[in-house]
């Protein structure tokens, strides 16, 4: 019997974060924030994935305290569904095209993808923020046909990044900050301003979380000087009105 109690206690300890004075928050964040969030605050527990997958987990009741998305639409939806507090815009990004290291295919930019280029193109799936942004860019550039020629539809931006960095794919679309996170491993092509989508990041405290006040404070701190300095150093931008 004592052993059973011990096992139960052990399981309980594993399942619930230590109830110390400063609660350890569980932060669900967009994959593009993988490097910068732990720099801003190494204390919390992070789960990085495609923002839409994280939203699905929140809808299914997985215990998160904070949700940080690579767009505003998904947190707005969760807000309307009463699952999160009012979302806060905290940073922005731009989209870039990346190619294999050293640009062996001699690409010049997105128009190198026109026609039947024979290139292996990867992008994120529809519904993943970066996947939607990629489709916006291609539509604005009159290159929508490229979507159908993609050889893989990934679930988050880091998977796109690694496929190109490993050389399995020739071309991909990621955020400028992702390309910056693997210096020298991919060739980066800027996307002309007129094709750029508005990439704004919004964060919100999750209502079902067990530390709502702390989570709200954490979200507010993302707009503070210290966090913004870290974000700027990683290549993130000041959010525009969107």
């Amino acid at each position: 019997m004592r052993r059973l109690l011990l096992v139960t206690a052990l399981l309980a300890a594993l399942a619930s974060p230590a109830a110390a004075s400063a609660p350890r928050l569980t932060v669900f964040a967009a994959a593009s924030l993988t490097d910068v969030f732990p720099q801003i605050d190494p204390h919390e527990r992070y789960s990085f994935a495609g923002s839409n997958a994280l939203a699905a987990q929140i809808r299914q009741g997985l215990p998160a305290d904070v949700f940080a998305s690579a767009n505003v639409t998904i947190p707005d939806q969760l807000y309307e569904q009463g699952l999160v507090e009012r979302p806060v815009l905290f940073t922005a990004n731009t989209l870039v095209m990346i190619a294999r290291k050293g640009n062996p295919d001699h690409l010049h930019g997105i128009y190198s993808l026109g026609g039947d280029s024979g290139l292996k193109i990867v992008m994120a799936a529809k519904g993943v923020p970066v996947g939607d942004y990629t489709r916006t860019v291609l539509a604005k550039a009159d290159l929508s046909g490229v979507v159908g020629r993609a050889v893989s539809q990934e679930t988050d931006v880091r998977e796109v990044l690694s496929k190109v960095a490993l050389g399995e794919a020739d071309v991909g679309f990621v955020y400028a900050t992702d390309a910056k996170a693997v210096p020298g491993q991919v060739a980066v092509f800027a996307i002309p301003r007129q094709f750029q989508p508005k990439v704004n990041y919004a964060a919100a405290a999750v209502k079902a979380g067990s530390h709502l006040a702390a989570a709200e404070a954490w979200v507010r701190r993302l707009k503070g000087k210290a966090a913004q300095r870290k974000l700027r150093a990683a290549g993130f931008l000041v959010p525009g009105r969107g």
Binding site: G50, V122, G127, Q153, L166, A169
Partner: protein, 273 residues
């Protein structure tokens, strides 16, 4: 009193184990009505994934049977130095984490992998293709078949083979007429296990083959991707895999219990050891 508490603990442990293992499987069916589950399966994501899973699994299993059977026979019937090491290495993918399998496949067959340059010279790029799905499935599933096949071949009475040979059968004829029929239960069991493992392959596939509906997106990949889009479709595909896996497991049990006339015929010959 003490004995009573002991029994209670054992029963509680047994009940916990059972409930813990069964509940998640039951929950997949409990959330949505069966009619709705079936209706979700007509979603193109689900139909494409099912078709692709069947196709890639069939090709992978054919390769495993064709190449793995003679290989297992050789490993079972020959004794040579380092045999234990070879068998262990063959079994290794079985216990490797899927993500490690994915990295290994990229490191070996990827464009910058060990064989990448050679393959490139022939104009072959495996990464992010359907062939990569087949390779990933074969890599993780074949050890299950090989393990079982080696055991099945080892259990074949060598005197039976010798008898066939003295009666004039060539090595090929002896293999197909004597060895294969005697080992078929073990082979079928191994194949069922490999089939189930291959159908569920996820980590190595998503890393090495990517995920594209109708091309490389197998059922497990579709479940992962659709989770963020439509939970009901995810449930339906999961339910389908539960049913297929159950069928495989039942088939496996039946195969292992069903014994052909091999038992009785053994008495026709002298004891082997």
């Amino acid at each position: 009193m003490r004995r009573l508490t002991g029994a209670a603990v054992v029963f509680a442990a047994a009940f916990l184990t059972f409930a813990f293992l069964v509940l998640p499987v039951v929950a997949i069916f409990a959330r949505v009505s069966p009619g709705r589950l079936v209706a979700q399966l007509s979603n193109p994501v689900a139909t494409d994934a099912l078709e692709l899973s069947l196709k890639t699994t069939a090709i992978a299993q054919a390769l495993i049977l064709l190449v793995g059977t003679p290989a297992a026979w050789l490993l079972a019937s020959r004794r040579f130095r380092g045999r234990g090491l070879v068998v262990t290495l063959v079994e290794l993918p079985l216990v490797l984490p899927p993500a490690v399998a994915g990295i290994g496949l990229i490191a070996a067959f990827g464009r910058f992998g060990l064989l990448g340059g050679t393959l490139d010279a022939f104009g072959i790029r495996l990464g992010l293709t359907q062939a990569a799905v087949v390779l990933a499935v074969a890599f993780v599933a074949s050890p299950l078949y090989l393990r079982q096949a080696i055991a099945a071949f080892e259990a074949v009475d060598q005197d039976m083979v010798a008898a066939a040979r003295t009666l004039g059968a060539g090595p090929g004829r002896a293999f197909f007429r004597v060895v294969l029929p005697l080992a078929r239960n073990g082979l079928a069991a191994g194949e069922a296990l490999a089939f189930a493992r291959g159908l569920g392959e996820f980590g190595a596939t998503i890393m090495f083959a990517g995920s594209l509906q109708g091309v490389t997106q197998t059922l497990p990949l579709a479940i992962y991707q659709e989770f963020a889009v439509n939970f009901d479709v995810t449930l339906a595909m999961s339910a389908l895999l539960v049913l297929v896996s159950t069928a495989l497991l039942v088939a496996l049990k039946v195969t292992l219990q069903w014994q052909p006339s091999q038992r009785t015929s053994r008495f026709l010959f002298a004891a082997s050891s």
